[in-house]
Amino acid sequence: MYRFGIKILIIVLLLLSISSEVPAQENKARTCVIFFSYSASMVAYQNMLDGFNESFIQPLDKPISIVSEYLDIGRTNNEAYGRSIVEMYNQKYKESGIDLVIAVGPGILPFLKKADLKMLKNSPLILVDIFISPADSVTNASQVNGMPVYLKYNYFTKSFKKICDLFPDRRSVYCVNGNGILDNYYFSILKDSQQKNSGTHKFININGLSIDSTLSTIADLPEESVVVVVSYSEDINGLAFTTPEVANLIARISKVPVFILGGDSFPKDGGVIGGYVISYNNVGKEFGKAANQILRGADPKSIMADLPGLYQYIFDWRELKRWNLLDSKTIPSQSTILYQEHSFFYEYKWYILGLALFMVTQTLIIIYLVRAHKIQKKVKQQILENQTMYNKIVREDRLSKMTVLTASLSHELNQPLTAILSCAQAGIRFLDSEKLDREQAKEIFENIIEDDKRAGGIISGVRAMMKFENREMENVTVNTLVNETLNIMRNEISRHGITIKTNLENNPIIVFADKIQLQQVLLNFLRNSIDAMEKNDPDDKKIEVSMKLDRDLVTVSIHDSGPGIDKSILKRIFEPFVTTGKTGFGIGLAVSRTIIENHHGEIWAENIPDGGAEFSFRLNTIKNE
């Protein structure tokens, strides 16, 4: 059972005369006794002692032993008991004496005044008592031969103001009080605070009732009201309670908000919206600090308790929510909010934010990777497509060459075959008609032989051209090569109505080369010239093949009378896929360049000022053997 009030005055009483002399006790351990007015069962005392232990620092030179004494005088208001415990403590501290007294609790000062505690006579005293009015404390303290320092703090006014601010529309404030000593004390100091807030609100006191009557009165309160449980330690019938207990009972039946003003703790069972409650831990810390200072010889007048910190606003989050006050600006920022139900997000804010950040980062990385993968895939595909396209073009070029070659071959072969067939059939006819003479027969056979040889020559020529890849380098006479190549093309050239002129060296010029490959270069050149002159006037289709020797270099040039090479492609004409006509894929000249470069020669094309284009290559010669 707590019998401890809410309001506290800390008065540090200092008996100045003692501090100066400490006779013959230099090496003895000192003693500090804390007298509590009630029994040790008070939770508030334990909280105070915890606070004291936190702030009290043992002086290194003269250690202090701390002793707690529980007088239990609050309830036992019995003079004989009082005398006997005084006698007991006189005996107990006769030897050691007391170096510092800390007196805690209601009614402690009157007791100490009456009691003849000898060992107190010379000791400094720290008084922690809520019952001492400022005026009292001065006189009373002087009677214990001390100099009181008290700090006044009236928190009721402030508390009522807070309640009025929270509920500006609830104009009736019902203040509930019990009838115990404490309750009556509170009640006596309540009026002044109520008056200060009467401008906006009306204050009605409920006291002098039994607990049942109190509760039934509360149950019937009008809606626009607020209940404030001030202090309730006994009802009118002497039934003992604690203020938090009663606050809980009231909250359970009340239809309006319930506050608590007194009491040593905030009601745990819920229903009470809030209150201005003392922190006993802080009280303990305060007198611990005061003890430190006094034991170190500080000027007692300078000791000030930091009182505002002793009280704190406490609110029940659930109740604030219930009365829609969660966002109210009137709730002090330093309030302790109990039972706050954090939303999942609030509770795990950092985890969630971290997770979200991680997921966003991961998503971005995935998106990036997916895109990168796509781009890579696209590029790969592009490369593949290009490769495929290239292969296709090369294949088609080969195919088209094959087709051309096949057509050309069939034509070339058909000529001698036609001649052979016709001659043979003519021979038979002559025989049948018996007109065949010896001369004619011989002529026919000779024709057949000649044509047959020609056909064979065509076939072996083609075969030679086809298997050039495994050919080896040999000594090639350029003059012969040019003539042979022209012979291959002669039919084609004349078919196009082209006149051909050769201007070759008289002496055989020999190069070390792959004959078929060189022939291919010349064929490409000739093919190019023939194509270039396709649209020329039939009388103006000329090809001139010339050969020049300059020291050990031989240059072979083929000059046509075509329109010349377009300037836009002149520089690139030997690059693959650059084409002069519509017929080819632009491979022939590229192949030619490769061949000539493999022979360590030069290849070039130019437009001749007099008209037409000239394709040339130059090779190293071998000295004539």
Binding site: T418, A419, A426, K435, R495
Partner: protein, 205 residues
């Protein structure tokens, strides 16, 4: 029909062996052959007054070749052209026939095919020549008519009666009869259908 003296076969081929072989074959069949190595030489021949045919080896894809071929066809209307090619195919043969070729042969050509084609072409040539002679004769007869007689003839062949002709030309019916008598005499015909034949041959309507 072989050995027909009054006919001639022209061979145009740039390949000497082919010219030689085909000439021999045609000789063996009794034809008189003239072999040329290009088409331009053929065009230089002034005229061909006897039936015959042309064996033409030509590169169909070439524009100049086609033009020359047209020139040949226009110049020698009574001489059919047989195409002979070393790399023929169906589209090419269709094109050749559209261009007025009488036949299309592929090298190497069998003697039977060649001689049949030549024989057919020469028969055709003879008909063309005979047509020409007939037409020339009719044209000559028509030319002997006076302008008025020609006018009357036009009405007669359209089946008009003398009376109608007189009214159309605003002359006396008797005069019409006189004209008709002279026309019959000049053309040497006895009936209106004969008159109509001559008029038709001479392209008179």
């Amino acid at each position: 029909m072989s050995g027909m003296p009054e006919s001639r076969v022209f061979i145009v081929d740039d390949d000497m062996s082919v010219r030689r072989g085909l000439s021999l074959l045609l000789n063996s069949a009794g034809y008189i052959v003239e072999a040329l190595d290009n088409i331009i030489d053929l065009l230089h021949i002034e005229d061909i007054n006897i039936p015959g045919c042309i064996l033409l080896d030509i590169f169909m894809g070439e524009e100049s070749g086609l033009e020359l071929q047209d020139a040949v066809r226009n110049k020698f209307k009574n001489i059919p052209i047989i195409f002979i090619t070393g790399h023929g195919n169906i589209p090419m043969s269709v094109q050749a026939l559209k261009k007025g070729a009488i036949n299309f042969l592929q090298k190497p050509v069998d003697d039977k095919d060649l001689l049949e084609a030549v024989e057919e072409a020469i028969k055709r040539s003879i008909i063309l020549f005979n047509n020409q002679i007939e037409t020339d004769k009719c044209k000559g007869l028509i030319d002997s008519l006076t302008p008025r007689e020609l006018e009357v003839l036009r009405y007669v062949i359209r089946g008009k009666l003398n009376k109608q002709i007189a009214s159309e030309l605003n002359i006396a019916e008797h005069t019409v009869k006189l004209h008709r008598g002279r026309i019959t005499e000049k053309l040497g015909v006895k009936s209106v259908p004969e008159m109509m034949y001559i008029a038709e041959k001479s392209n008179i309507e």
